[in-house]
């Protein structure tokens, strides 16, 4: 041993697999071998199964629910209705958005697929037969699926709110109105736009879609009547919040509730909210004294648990003739469905939509958002984006394109002309955000060069000529996007969910032999936290990532945190991890100095050890220090090596990126082909490049789905038209193009390691890139705006309406 040459400093750094290493995901060993442990894998002795009778109607009075026949079905034990929940005051529940929502139909139903009764049976087969045997008398009511009509209609959707003119977010101006939320200086904006040389105006619709994680939502509730403890396993993106909400709703003290999020098969925002299934399972477990499982099927998931988007964004953007933007105004009609169950920080009913000035230095802006009730499922969650950020990015990136058309200018040039310059950071936007850091011009130029942008434009011009000569039926679209996100919610001073500040946490224990466990308040749903958080820690405390266990999702063991969504894990919990690591290091320094018999200030940190300044051969490694911390009496120092950090971020982080999509479009069939997709992301410090690349590929593929076909559609009487994978577009490998990824690195100045978050960037930037490519292909023929999704018939319709079918 002793005659081996000691590892070089580089070897020691490499051995840690810390920041910047493409360390293989430690989670994948179990996922690729079918050894994941998802909620449907949880099987407890005597466990029952609960499932819902759902409404076939979008709006109807529920005159009666007949459960007698269902109760005769072998295996069916109980059928819960609102009447059974009412004595517990659980027939309604509060939403995260300050509204309330029916747990089970209370007198009426407001959307197709709404939960009407909960059948509890010995297994899911008996439950399904029980559901078929429940008879419900419905009296159909007029249906409102269009939010503009809802705001005019005499039909009252929410009779429970009748007469209430004040909502959680101010005055309701109509019985189907939820709130008007405003930001910015309306008067100054109108003035700027009114006196501008050029104004572009457009309605931009971001259609309703759904996060559609591969694993649907579900839970197992287990009430132990002997010790009074409730254990709740579930697909929760925010397990601690669920525990607190469960305690507030049920009256069970919080220490008697244990919430466990096991492996989660994707969340994308769908698993943030609290659903009737959770409440009913808990009640059923309390009533029966047995564990009760509830697992959505695919149709339930697409029809009833939280949708995303559905924003009608009417925009006005003004500029000088040279293309310098002078103002931006946006009015949104936001279709929230039957209940306002958006998952946003409490003070932000439209999320962070006011990031909609994007990457541009816009002197004055105004945003107004009207939330509206309709006969559709509730939700409005952030589907792989920070709260309403993808709507904002889509809006501004469409408005830029429309302005470029109005100006007769190249859209890449228009962007470059208006970017916030590198020396303007930190930059305060007209709508009040403080952008932490950025270098947009560098990223943009790198992207344009990488795809040979001028060459593409030449090819496109030639294609248009060839098309006009009748030599081809295909057009070429070049979709540009430069997006700026706002993620990492967020500072407790303005971000909370149901009153709980949006800090996050990490608790570290170093074991005597120099390995460690760290627990966080977040929960991975596929992001690879067990891999990347260990890397942050490895670089901070000099213990190899492979020797660090990361644990999340059990509220009995993990420190309180607000969970994983809105790209907040790295910006907030990642920061907490680094800060807790630094506390470990501070204590380790004292121990090392004692062991080396020098003053605390006379040792310095070096990768995995403290060494005496000027005498690097005299050192104590972190492993040695850990051992000593448990086994040696050190005067004035408590035994053990542990730390916890609760991190309240001083600001959000602002990742950005430049995406370019090159698309071929067959004008006769509406079929598209993506020839090239270039994605440059700047997420600040890069923890694991391979994981980043994986996140970008996944996010772009979801963006492709949304832009090119995925939607939640209803017919005029509120029937859900896209509740199976036949109609709800999930791309397979076949539809997924090749992506080229690239990056620049502009660290966040306020984050301990400079990281910004990346999981959602590709969805935020990808959707406008794909959509702009479609629009751009038809720009030469006069197209200004056509709503997503750009599926085949809608692309065909663009060509048809432009007269391209002769």
């Amino acid at each position: 041993m002793n005659d081996q040459t000691p590892p070089t400093r580089e070897e020691r750094v490499a051995g840690l697999k810390g920041l910047g290493t493409s360390r293989k995901r430690v989670e994948d060993a179990r996922f690729t071998q079918g050894k994941g442990n998802y909620v449907d894998d949880v099987k407890l002795p005597g466990m029952l199964f609960g499932d819902f009778v759902r409404s076939p109607y979008a709006h109807a009075r529920v005159a009666a629910i007949h459960t007698e026949e269902a109760l005769k079905v072998p295996g069916v034990l109980a059928v819960l209705t609102a009447k059974d929940l009412e004595p517990l005051n659980l027939h309604w529940m509060p939403t995260l958005a300050g509204d309330k929502q029916m747990v089970l139909a209370d007198g009426k139903v407001l959307f197709q697929g709404q939960e009407v009764a909960f059948v509890v049976a010995t297994d899911r087969y008996a439950a399904a037969d029980g559901i078929a045997a429940v008879e419900v008398d419905y009296q159909e009511l007029p249906v409102l699926t269009n939010p503009f009509e809802a705001l005019e209609s005499d039909v009252v959707l929410r009779e429970d709110l009748e007469g209430q003119t004040e909502g959680a977010h101010g005055t309701r101006k109509h019985h189907n109105h939820i709130f008007l939320w405003e930001e910015g200086d309306q008067e100054a904006t109108e003035q700027a736009i009114g006196s501008a040389e050029v104004v572009a105006e457009e309605m931009v619709y971001y259609h309703r879609t759904h996060p559609c994680p591969l694993e649907t939502c579900g839970c197992v509730a287990s009430m132990d009547k002997v010790n009074g403890k409730l254990t709740l396993y579930g697909t929760f993106q925010a397990p601690h919040v669920v525990r607190t909400v469960a305690s507030l709703l049920s009256g069970i003290e919080e220490h008697n509730i244990r919430v466990i999020s096991p492996d989660i098969g994707g969340g994308f925002g769908n698993k943030v909210g609290v659903y009737p299934g959770y409440v009913c399972s808990i009640v059923a477990s309390i009533v029966t004294g047995k564990p009760v499982k509830w697992i959505e099927n695919r149709m339930d998931n697409l029809m009833a648990t939280a949708f995303a988007r559905d924003y009608w964004m009417k925009g006005k953007i003004s500029a000088t003739r040279e293309g310098k933007i002078t103002g931006l105004a946006c009015h949104v009609v936001a279709d929230h469905g039957a209940f306002d169950a958006c998952a946003d920080p409490t003070k932000f009913p439209a999320g962070f939509f006011h990031i909609c000035t994007g990457s541009y230095d816009i002197p004055v802006a105004y945003v107004g958002v009207d939330g509206v009730y309709t006969n559709k499922a509730p939700g409005g969650v952030a589907y792989r984006c920070s709260f309403r950020v993808t709507e904002a990015a889509y809006f501004i990136e469409r408005m830029i394109e429309v302005l470029a058309i109005e100006l007769g200018m190249d859209a890449a040039e228009l962007r470059a002309k208006n970017f916030i310059k590198a020396d303007q950071f930190p930059y305060t936007s007209a709508l009040g955000w403080e952008y932490d850091s950025g270098d947009y011009h560098t990223a943009w130029n790198k992207a344009l060069e990488a795809v040979d942008y001028p060459g593409l434009r030449r090819e496109q011009a030639e294609r248009v000529e060839a098309f006009k000569r009748g030599e081809t039926r295909k057009l070429l679209g070049i979709g540009l996007t430069h997006f700026t996100e706002i993620v990492g919610a967020g500072p407790v001073k303005n971000c909370d969910i149901l009153g709980m500040g949006m800090f996050d946490s990490c608790e570290i224990r170093i074991h005597p032999t120099g390995s460690a466990i760290a627990r966080l308040g977040t929960i991975s749903q596929g992001q690879g936290h067990a891999t990347t958080f260990a890397q942050i820690l490895a670089s901070e405390i000099g213990i190899p990532a492979d020797s660090i266990t990361i644990e999340e999702g059990d509220t009995d063991t993990a420190p309180y945190g607000l969970g994983t969504y809105g790209s907040r894990s790295t910006p907030v919990a990642g920061a907490a991890t680094a800060m807790a690591g630094r506390k470990i290091r501070a204590k380790a320094q004292m121990i090392a100095a004692y062991l080396l018999e020098v003053h605390d200030d006379d040792v310095e940190w070096d990768v995995d050890r403290f060494a005496v300044k000027g005498a690097p051969e005299r050192f104590k490694t972190m492993a040695e220090i850990a051992y000593a911390s448990y086994n040696q009496a050190i005067p004035g120092v408590e035994p053990g090596l542990e730390a916890v950090s609760y991190y309240d971020p001083p600001n959000m982080t602002y990742p950005f990126g430049a995406y370019i999509c090159v698309m071929e479009i067959d004008v006769d069939t509406g079929v598209h082909e993506i020839r090239q997709f270039y994605a440059l992301d700047d997420c600040g410090t890069r923890i694991n490049p391979m994981v980043i690349e994986g996140q970008v590929h996944g996010g772009l593929t979801e963006a492709l789905a949304i832009a090119m076909g995925q939607e939640i559609a209803y017919d005029e009487i509120g029937n859900h038209k896209t509740a199976t994978f036949m109609d709800f577009f999930i791309p397979t490998a076949w539809e997924t193009p090749n992506y080229t990824t690239d990056h620049t690195v502009t660290p966040s100045p306020h984050h301990p390691i400079g990281a910004k978050g990346v999981g959602e960037s590709p969805n935020v930037g990808g959707v406008p890139a794909f959509s702009n490519a479609v629009h751009d292909a038809f720009r030469a023929f006069g197209l200004r705006q056509s709503h997503m999704p750009h599926d085949q018939w809608r692309i065909w319709k663009i060509a048809h309406d432009l007269g391209l079918h002769g």
Binding site: N297, G709, K721, D727, F729, Q792, W796
Partner: protein, 284 residues
């Protein structure tokens, strides 16, 4: 997504299967690959009390080509249609079409017999069978009878097959000349927005025969006889092709669904037919 309870039978020969169907009546259904039937049962759109699984009946499997006649057992999987060398040689359009059905997982178990017996206008094989002028053999309590594919389909999910008959075999003369199965769909695993099957021959530079059939453009597959006729005797020049397309469009009646409105489907049908003719003609 859980079907109502049902009883399951797995007979080992055709006679027992037919006997079961006869005995159990209306509430019994043959089960082949299950990839159309089981989803309907899970959605509780089809209520079936007795499933008669045909998978143990060996005589329903296999592909043979002899004396220019192709004969395929009903339980032959769509995957087998892709991998069988003799079939690829005798009727390459079968492989071209089968490759465009669903995805590999579905094709490993989905059968030719199930595809043609199902009666769903979205199925790809019925149109192709009409194009090839195939014959379906049905065996019932009264014995065996043959029905031409072109006469088999009555309305969506309604066919000439009696409830107590089993479709045992599909036969057709090995086609000659050029062929194409052209299908537009939204994604892998989707049924056709519009699809066209065509077989045609060339003699002395002129089209000497042409059979065209269309998928998912009416409530039944459509054998577009006049469209084929419009090509015969021509050099498949632009005006002949236009005439064939308009003849075909005259015989279809697509409905609006999530794939698009009627005017889109009519337009795409024209494009699909055009491309099918061009490809088939180039292969003559």
């Amino acid at each position: 997504m859980i079907p109502a309870a049902f009883d399951y039978h797995r007979p080992a020969d055709i006679a027992s299967a037919v006997a079961l169907l006869q005995e159990l009546g209306d509430d019994a259904r043959p089960l082949a690959g299950g990839h159309s039937l089981i989803p309907m049962m899970k959605l509780r759109m089809a209520s079936v009390e007795y499933l008669i699984d045909l998978q143990d009946i060996d005589e329903l499997r296999g592909i043979s080509v002899s004396d220019g006649i192709v004969s395929i057992g009903a339980m032959t999987t769509q995957h087998d249609l892709i991998t069988d060398a003799a079939l690829a040689e005798a009727a390459p359009i079968m492989r071209e079409a089968a490759l465009q059905i669903a995805d590999p997982q579905v094709r490993y178990v989905g059968t030719l017999g199930g595809n043609v017996a199902n009666g769903d206008p979205g199925n790809d094989m019925p149109g192709l069978m009409q194009c090839l002028d195939a014959t379906f053999t049905l065996v019932g309590p009264g014995g065996s009878r043959d029905v031409a594919a072109r006469d088999f389909y009555e309305a969506a999910y309604m066919t000439a097959r009696e409830d107590d008959e089993i479709l045992t075999r599909v036969t057709f003369a090995a086609p000659t000349g050029g062929y194409a199965y052209e299908k537009q769909k939204r994604k892998i695993g989707d049924y056709a927005t519009a699809a066209a099957a065509i077989q045609m021959t060339r003699d002395d530079g002129l089209c000497s025969s042409a059979a065209i059939a269309l998928t998912n453009l009416s409530d039944v597959p459509v054998f577009a006889k006049a469209a084929g006729a419009a090509l015969v005797g021509t050099s498949c020049d632009a005006s002949a092709v236009t005439a064939a397309i308009s003849a075909a469009l005259g015989e279809i009646d697509p409905t609006e669904d999530n794939r698009g409105p009627v005017e889109f489907k009519l337009h795409v049908a024209g494009i699909v037919i055009l491309r099918a003719i061009e490809r088939a003609w180039s292969r003559t």
